[in-house]
Amino acid sequence: MTTAATPRPATGAKRPRRPKGLSAHFFLVLAVLISVFPFVWTIVMATNTTRDIYKSPPKLTFGSHLLENIRGVLNTIDFFGSMLNTVVIACVTTVLVLFVDSLAAFAFAKFDFPGRKVLFGTLLVFMMLPLQLAVLPQFILMSELGWVGMLKALVWPALSNAFGIFWLRQYIENGVPDELLDAARIDGAGFFRQYWNVALPMIKPAMSFLAIYAFVGAWNDYVWPLIVLTDPAHVTLQVELAQLNVGHNTDYSMVMAGVLMASIPLVVVFAIFARGFIAGATEGAVQGS
């Protein structure tokens, strides 16, 4: 990037670059402000009273009414009950997705068995279909099974999502060397030992990406829980949150406290795993198959 062929004072050499770099950072900081603003403004609204937000001009600083608003949320909806439901659903779904998908992905990535291409191809085609094509029959199926209103109705359709297999297969194909599997087989390791002792330890980054992906997806899912969880006593956090906003409720600061409370766990999870997650998301998107 150095343009100066002749030795010049440091300031002189840097000057042509500095404005460009500065304006780039200015632009990016502006974008970051836009992307972060809703979080900040949610906190502002959640810590003030509704009257403060609605007066003109509105109060733009943090207030001291957060606890009051949180109490309002807890009195209006079953926040912790629905949160517990969501945590259970998200954890169960994530664990099952990891196990089921990695097992299948390992078989697809490293073994050539009859029907492999057709089976995997079907999966790819279905991955591109809008989920809504299946929603109605899924609901009918759930009513036949008597699962409408029950939490297990959320787990199974989530498991049938093929993305994890597609993604892990890609990773295993490249990330687990054939030589290692060969060596394991010579040592007498069968298929499942190769999967458990050789492949799984090597695909931890891919698995942790999939774990966060599945967890966030289950946590944020709204449409299917809205349809299938017909019993108001057993809903997930997102459905409960939408309920908070419905109808006669004009206490916006209270609603915003609910939004804040529901968002914090996810933002924390994301903040902890963000680096690996973004790297994973990028690779999954960019590597063509």
């Binding site: 770099g21 950072h25 990016l28 974008a31 970051v32 992307s35 972060v36 809703p38 949610t42 609204m45 937000i53 089921v100 998908d101 097992l103 078989a107 490293k110 073994f111 050539d112 068995f113 079907t122 279905f126 591109m128 809008p130 809504q132 094509l133 299946a134 109605l136 029959p137 899924q138 609901f139 009918i140 359709p157 049938s160 999502n161 990773y171 194909e173 490249n174 990330g175 054939d178 599997l181 298929f191 499942f192 090597m202 695909i203 966030v216 997806g217 944020n220 709204y222 449409v223 349809i227 949150l241 939408a242 906003n245 419905v246 915003m256 529901a262 968002s263 963000a274 999954g284 960019v286």
Partner: protein
């Protein structure tokens, strides 16, 4: 309707030191010489079949059969309780002459264009700028990606509050500079603008990350050669960056078409609070997207056959639009 970062037609050379072990084989080699001995009977592969069976059992029951079953339902009259009655193409004939269906299609398309164009354009610009800086890259990436992991319900409630006609922050700020309140959530076009803004806010960072990965795959030597030839930054962008990035842009266009047309939660949450309005999608049903109409027909009116017809017609529309977009991006390559 979160989008999985699924495959793209993009084939970018390996470049990042990504997480995990190094890559051992070049891509596009046939899968695994590991287990390819002499031909064996199908049964000798029972371990592999056993390994994939948990997924395929769930997949067949909860995905494969339901998709075809919904096509079957589209030719029936069924309320979920009584018996099914075969009605041939009647559902689709009714659909063809149903003004609400066409209204929902127009709404969906308008919201899709209003959100996808700024999203992809903004993402490309952001990625280019982010690619050019060296410091705080990790911070910018995380901060700009953050909107994508928040829940649509939370975001929709937030946008509803900020764009509220009477008390929202946006109108309050406009009021301070002397502009009279704008009816964000009752004007048919402004409703779409608000929904599109919401989607743009959520998806720009996601697409930016994908573009950034593509930009990082372009070797620096290409840019140096361009600079030698005296190409400025704008010319470099349009004549080098864009053409090289075309496969990735194509991928994001396809994904955005599939996802952007499936808006449901945004209008559903935004306008659910309006108890006086029985119709979904807000005043004048201006926010009624096709999926919202599907939800209303199937689950509120219990008209399963019509719901299935809507969702299949909608699927055909998505395919048509994906093909058109594909063609447009591909044609750009030839010229």
């Amino acid at each position: 309707m979160s989008s999985p970062p699924v495959t793209g037609p993009a084939t970018v050379p390996e470049h990042r030191g990504g997480p995990g072990p190094a890559r051992f084989r070049p891509r596009r080699t046939p899968p695994a010489g590991v287990a390819r001995p002499e031909r064996r009977g199908v049964l000798s592969y029972w371990r592999q079949y056993l390994a994939i069976s948990p997924f395929y059992l769930v997949f067949i029951v909860f995905s494969f059969v339901p998709v075809f079953y919904s096509l079957y339902l589209a030719f029936q009259r069924y309320d979920g309780l009584g018996t099914k009655q075969f009605v041939g193409l009647q559902q689709f004939e009714f659909l063809w002459s149903d003004p609400v269906f066409w209204l929902s299609i127009r709404n969906t398309l308008a919201i899709w264009v209003l959100s996808t164009v700024p999203t992809l354009f903004g993402a490309l610009v952001l990625a280019t700028v982010l690619h050019s800086v060296r410091r705080f890259k990790g911070f910018y990436r995380i901060a700009l990606y953050l909107p994508n992991v928040t829940s649509i319900v939370a975001v929709a409630i937030f946008f509803g509050a900020v764009f509220s006609n009477d008390f929202g922050l946006v109108n309050a700020i406009l009021g301070m500079v002397g502009i009279s309140p704008v009816p964000w959530l009752s004007n048919p076009w402004l409703i779409k603008v608000v929904i599109a803004l919401l989607m743009t806010w959520m998806w720009t960072g996601y697409n930016m990350i994908i573009y950034l990965a593509g930009l990082q795959a372009i070797p620096q030597s290409v840019y140096e050669a361009a600079r030698m030839d005296g190409a400025g930054p704008v010319r470099t962008f349009f004549q080098i960056t864009i053409p090289i990035m075309r496969p990735i842009i194509l991928f994001t266009v396809v994904i955005s078409t599939i996802n952007g047309l499936q808006s449901f939660s945004e209008p559903q949450v935004l306008f659910a609070s309006n108890a006086a309005n029985q119709n979904l999608g807000g005043p004048g049903q201006a926010g009624l997207t096709t999926l919202l109409y599907f939800y209303q027909s199937a689950f509120l009116d219990n008209d399963y056959g019509y719901g299935a017809a809507i969702v299949w017609a909608f699927f055909v529309l998505i395919i048509v639009l994906v093909v058109i977009n594909w063609r447009i991006v591909q044609r750009g390559r030839k010229s």
